[in-house]
Amino acid sequence: MNKLISYAPLSQHEGLYGAMFAGPAIFLLFLFLFYPAIRTLFLSFFDKRGQNFIGIENYIWSITDEKMLVTIRNQFIWLVGVVFLVIFLGLVVGYISDRLKKGESFFKSIIFMPMAISAVGSSAIFKFIYEYRPPPSTQIGLINGLRVGRGSDINGNPCGNNVLLDDGSKIGYSNEGCLQPIGWLQQRDLTGLPSFENISNADFFTNLIINFPINTLLLMLVMVWMFTGFAMVVFSAAIKAIPSEIIEAGQIDGASEGKIFLSIVIPYLKTTILVVATYLTVSVLKAFDIVYVTTRGDFETNLLAVKMLDEFAIYLNQGRSATVAVLIFVCVIPIIFLNILQNKEEAKA
């Protein structure tokens, strides 16, 4: 290659070297990312097998089909919930750990560890915690196990999680009055949950609350558990970069710790928060493993990324699958736009 280029006129050397060095990458990007993305966009206007043009029918399906609407609702809950919770927890944990005299790295490692293991592994871990087994079998999931092991039945006998006593008798939770286990991941609303048992159809807001998908929330927490470490690391690096004079000046002026956090630290971290929010948004939109492994998208827990694959692999509908993919992409655009705006603002300053 080197020799070949040396035969070319000198003025073209740089250009040829450029092509030789950057060419393969550009070609592969074009082949593996750009061309497929364009083709997906086209496919979204075509039918099941990708042969007949059907206009925006797929898009109409995507906002009218009941299952799609549930999927979009879940995606929305995930987006708001994960981004908000992870940034909040990340800020708190990052700020506190930064002030630790010792054990900072140990503490950070613990919080960060879930980021290193796979989402499949994390989902398995949490599926074990949320595990539900039909009564009267022993509850092995942490939450249900603690739930059924408490209290006593209507006759005053203690309830238990099928605990074997010394005299050989067993105490279970099947007696009337004992708390029953809840299928957390099957629970698509709040009916039948503690403090919601006696609410019958009432006004609009009660309905709104009672229809809150608790299983989606619980699955979302898996992602919060995984990504808080990431936010913490990024925030704590950014907090360390704040000039200490500014914080000291605030302290001399008598600002309280909370005031310093709100009016000095947070404004300083604005750009960082946007970066983390961007990363989280993209990650949530691509979130596939958690829902796939735990519920397989059943019980109204589906997300766009899972739905997209199901449309392709199970319902064999390429058009709809492509449409869902385009929806995922469309959701990314606003936050990218925000980033561009922010970059411009910084370039100006």
Binding site: N2, I96, I117, T294
Partner: protein
Amino acid sequence: MNSPTQKWYDKPIAKIILVSISLTWVMPYFGFVLSSFRPGDSIKRVSWWSSIMTGDFIREFTFENYTEILFAENLSRSFFNSFAVTIPSTIIPITIAAFAAYAFAFIDFKGKNIAFMFVIAMMIVPLQMSLIPLIKLFSKGAILFGIPIIPELQINGTFVAVWFAHTGFGLPLATFLLRDFMLGLPKSVIESAKVDGASHLTTFYKLALPLSLAGIAAFATFQFLWVYNDFLVANVFLGIRPQNLVVTSHVAQLTVGNYGEAWHLRTSGAVISMIVPLIVFFSLQRFFVKGLIGGAVKG
């Protein structure tokens, strides 16, 4: 320090918050890892916390789940597959990206800015956008104006397809990060090489590459873990035939599938799948965090 006003973060309440957060974060592993050492029927009969209290856990402690999952259930093959997928999927994109990064950093060629904009634009495209056509591309090839530019490869379900897919998904970020790193190298060194008459290839091999090893290591750690932990791409391009399973898809099969309540296999399988990432994480923490923060924009 005898300051009269104790800082809030020295007060016990802050410590309590920290300890309870750490416990919350560790708790999920605890029962899970513990259960992987208990016999299968025991897991179902007695909850893990009462097994500690009654001492059953110590009495029944066993490694049998691990031998069963590794050999009878053949997770060892999936483990091998994982490496067969991961190592090339890490090396190929880095190699191609290193060349491209050098070009973007040090060669003045026409269309450089446009080409680099293209790389950045590809970073924000979620991989879902490329999935279906990529499957088609790998089986049927590509035809442009009636001319087959990519032949019918029929490589879906082979490792090659996964390598290609991960190469495509990893390239933009790798190029971006390595270019950033190379731009940070002392310019005078690269320029003096040019003055001495070294060609770009020589400069690349002798100077740019060795000097950017730290950047390459950061991305390599990130990409390695990303590919190893990936389930979506492996699931789509390799499928679920037993001989094709990687560790993540194997554990996913166990967890989602019709294994009923095979928690002794689910726990031990998942624990095995976590060993490699945790070793990498604890030994290369610095690189990993760097690569991850840089990778915050991966599409």
